[in-house]
């Protein structure tokens, strides 16, 4: 798959502080790309470089195989983490203003704003000032402004902060729909469950360096340990546990059940297949649960970061 965005060896220093060190990422067209990392890792700097807010000291950025130039600004929609609107300006006016700054004509902007305002059922806000709206309401306006000019690349930095669960869901669905309509999305957040849910690619940045990048499925495959979670109904849990321990690498597992199961995690070596394990277990008790342990992004995140410390 072709990449919509490629960052090559980007380095940015602020005085003696290195914000980014030789960071390269490839964002495939049509993907939802999770940009992850602890606070202060350099995500925002990278995002600002992509938005041409900050210039990198070294390295280059390609959008759709073209070296990033000022005219690409209209191809990118950016919802920053630190976001707000003019307090004393009317909602409609400033949405128009921001849309025009992105190169839309006034009429075009009006038309598209009408569509989105109707969609979010907020048309009656048009003549209100932002200071009369709640934070979540203002966020909706900001979201609209970000996507209004139909950019190829959308960058959302913590898009769900400030939204209640219902509106967060509305926004999530909109993001997915935009992706389906052909947009590529870069998504930076600390909320791992939304990464898990949305992202198909991720990059992990820690202390100014990229430490992991790839397709979510590939990464999970690489991080899985060939472990299986097993839940068994047996006559005697402790007996079986001891027997199993002689043959396999067994540890206790913890998951919720309604009856008294033996809950274990068995990590297989490469010579044993899951079928063999299943066969072996089948006459030891009633198998209630048998599933491969796939590491969550949260787990991978914590593990990779601690490994690099």
């Amino acid at each position: 798959m072709a990449n919509l965005l490629e960052v090559q060896q980007a380095t940015k220093k602020f005085g003696n502080f290195t914000a980014l060190q030789d960071v390269s990422i490839q964002v495939p067209k049509g993907s939802i790309f999770g940009l992850l990392g602890p606070n202060g890792a350099g995500k925002t700097t990278l995002i600002r470089i992509i938005n041409q807010i900050t210039l990198p000291d070294k390295g280059s950025v390609y959008l759709d195989n073209e070296l990033l130039k000022p005219q690409h600004i209209k191809d990118i929609g950016y919802l920053p983490e630190e976001r707000g609107l003019y307090k004393s300006m009317k909602v409609g006016e400033q949405a128009l203003y921001l849309a025009q700054l992105k190169g839309l004509s006034k009429n075009e902007a009006k038309e598209r704003l009408k569509y989105w305002f109707d969609k979010f059922e907020i048309s009656h806000w048009w003549n209100k000032k932002i200071q009369e709206l709640s934070k979540g309401m203002a966020q909706k306006v900001q979201f609209i402004v970000t996507v209004l000019h139909k950019p190829k690349l959308l960058i959302f930095d913590e898009p769900f902060s400030g939204f209640d669960p219902i509106n967060a869901n509305v926004i999530k669905d909109e993001i997915l729909q935009l992706r389906d309509e052909g947009a590529t999305v870069i998504f930076s957040t600390h909320r791992m469950e939304s990464v898990e849910e949305l992202c198909d690619h991720i990059a992990l940045i820690n202390k100014s360096k990229k430490i992991l990048e790839g397709k979510v499925t590939d990464i999970k495959r690489a991080y899985k340990t060939n472990a299986f979670e097993v839940g068994l109904l047996t006559e005697n849990n402790i007996d079986l546990y001891n027997t199993l321990q002689d043959r396999f690498n067994v540890t206790a597992a913890d998951f919720k059940t309604i009856d008294n199961q033996l809950k274990i995690k068995i990590t297989l070596d490469h010579n044993t297949s899951s079928n063999e394990l299943l066969q072996y277990l089948s006459d030891k008790g009633q198998i209630m649960r048998f599933n491969e342990v796939i590491p969550g992004i949260n787990e991978i995140f914590i593990k990779t970061i601690t490994e690099h410390e």
Binding site: F14, G15, R48, N51, Q52, I53, P70, I73, I76, Y78, L79, P80, E82, R83, G84, L85, Y86, K87, S88, M89, Y97, L98, Q100, L101, K102, K106, Q142, V145
Partner: protein
């Protein structure tokens, strides 16, 4: 529409719609005219009060000289004893008692005239009384020594030096006043404009920063573009405000003067200078002087220095606005703005007026931060074109340099939150 135009338009509308702006635009002239009217009215109030002075003249020769005028009444108490006269003055609450004793010679009399009063008497009143007595005594002295008073009066010469330059053009003595007023008004106007609208630029930057809209905007436009748009938009609002002030103030002043009968003449000019015997000719010369001022050059250089000075300072204001989180934090960075402005005004009002082509005036009309004000004040006095050229080139050069530096601080500062930067940090930002 280009982004710069959009920004200028937004800034302009945001400034003009601001409530304080609207109120000040229309209330400003009203307050100013109100103040002028109040002051003039108060002054006339004071003059209406008629002073009553008791006259105790033992010589008996002055009574005809002290005639009641529209603000002083003289009451003759010479028929009483001195103590009775004093008592009556106190009882009747008169303003004072003038005691002229009888002396054998005028030179003795000169030193023995006394004025009794509870409160220290008004200086102008005393001056007038002294003048009356002095002229009376002088005339008496002349007579005693056998001079003919009419001859003396006829022999008095009145000198009015006519000023003419070497190419034969006549000027009035008012010429340097006129130049001073032209320069002073222009310089002062520029300073006020810079302070008022520079501050507005700064506030608008701080507003964007504290609203957190800044990052949304600079993902669409270049920070320098935003800064320029802000400066331009605000200055257009400023020019509009000044125009309204000028027109409204003028109209109100005319209305006020016709309603209250207040003389709208500027107070600073000594009217006696204009309305001399050859007043007619003098006024003509003044008009000639004004016409002779290189008006074209004046207007052009005013425009250049005005724009240049405003740009120079407002980009510093913008950088300060970007560096801080709130207006209160901006105070620590105000010195580099206020100091050169004040210096410019002081050099202008003291050095330039005293010696427009002296070293101090010349140097300060070259230094970019003070040159807009000082040079504007010097130009009416005639500055050679190459001096103006050097000063302008220096100004333009430093505008480019300062805007560039300010742009760098601005670019970094608008994305910095939470900490109060120091000068050292600002310096470091310039290198990012």
């Amino acid at each position: 529409m280009s982004n710069l135009k959009l920004i200028i338009k937004r800034e302009f509308i945001a400034r003009v719609r601001n409530k304080t702006f609207v109120v000040m635009t229309f209330l400003g002239p009203l307050m100013m005219v109100g103040m002028i009217s109040l002051i003039t009215w108060l002054a006339t109030l004071n003059n209406d009060e008629i002073r009553k002075v008791a006259l105790y003249d033992k010589t008996g020769s002055f009574s005809t000289d002290f005639k009641d005028s529209n603000d002083i009444d003289y009451i003759d108490y010479s028929h009483l004893t001195l103590n009775d006269a004093k008592d009556s003055v106190v009882i009747k609450k008169l303003d004072g008692l003038l005691y002229i004793p009888k002396k054998s010679t005028n030179s003795e009399l000169e030193k023995s005239i006394q004025f009794y009063a509870d409160e220290a008497p008004n200086i102008s009143l005393l001056n007038r009384i002294e003048e009356i007595i002095a002229s009376k005594l002088t005339n008496q002295n002349f007579k005693e020594k056998g001079f003919d008073l009419d001859l003396i009066e006829n022999s008095k010469a009145k000198v009015n030096i006519l000023i003419e330059n070497f190419s034969g053009e006549k000027t009035s003595k008012m010429s340097s006043y006129i130049k001073m007023i032209f320069g002073g008004v222009a310089g002062y106007f520029l300073m006020m404009f810079i302070i008022v609208y520079g501050n507005m630029v700064m506030r608008s930057v701080i507003e964007e920063k504290s609203n957190r809209i800044i990052e949304i905007i600079i993902s669409s436009v270049k920070p320098l573009q935003l800064m320029m748009g802000k400066i331009l938009g605000t200055s257009f609002a400023g020019i509009l405000q000044f125009l309204i002030w000028g027109i409204l103030g003028g109209v109100l002043l005319i209305v006020a003067s016709s309603v209250f009968g207040i003389d709208p003449q500027p107070v600073g000019i000594d009217q006696s200078l204009i309305l001399q015997e050859d007043g007619q000719q003098e006024i003509q010369l003044i008009l000639q002087d004004i016409m002779k001022l290189p008006l074209g050059v004046l207007v052009l250089s005013f425009f250049i220095y005005f724009v240049g000075g405003y740009f120079l300072y407002s980009s510093i204001y913008a950088a300060i606005g970007a560096a801080v989180d709130s207006e209160t934090d901006s105070q620590q960075f105000m010195l580099p703005i206020i100091l050169p402005l004040m210096l410019g005004i002081y050099v202008g009002f003291f050095s330039v007026i005293d010696n427009p082509h002296g070293t101090v005036s010349t140097v300060f009309s070259m230094i970019p931060l003070t040159s807009p004000i000082v040079m504007l004040m010097r130009i009416p006095f005639g500055v050679s074109w190459w001096e103006v050229l050097i000063s302008m080139l220096l100004l333009i050069g430093s505008i480019i340099f300062i805007t560039w530096l300010a742009g760098k601080i601005y670019r970094v500062g608008i994305l910095m939150y939470g900490k109060k930067p120091t000068y050292k940090e600002l310096f470091r930002w310039m290198k990012y």
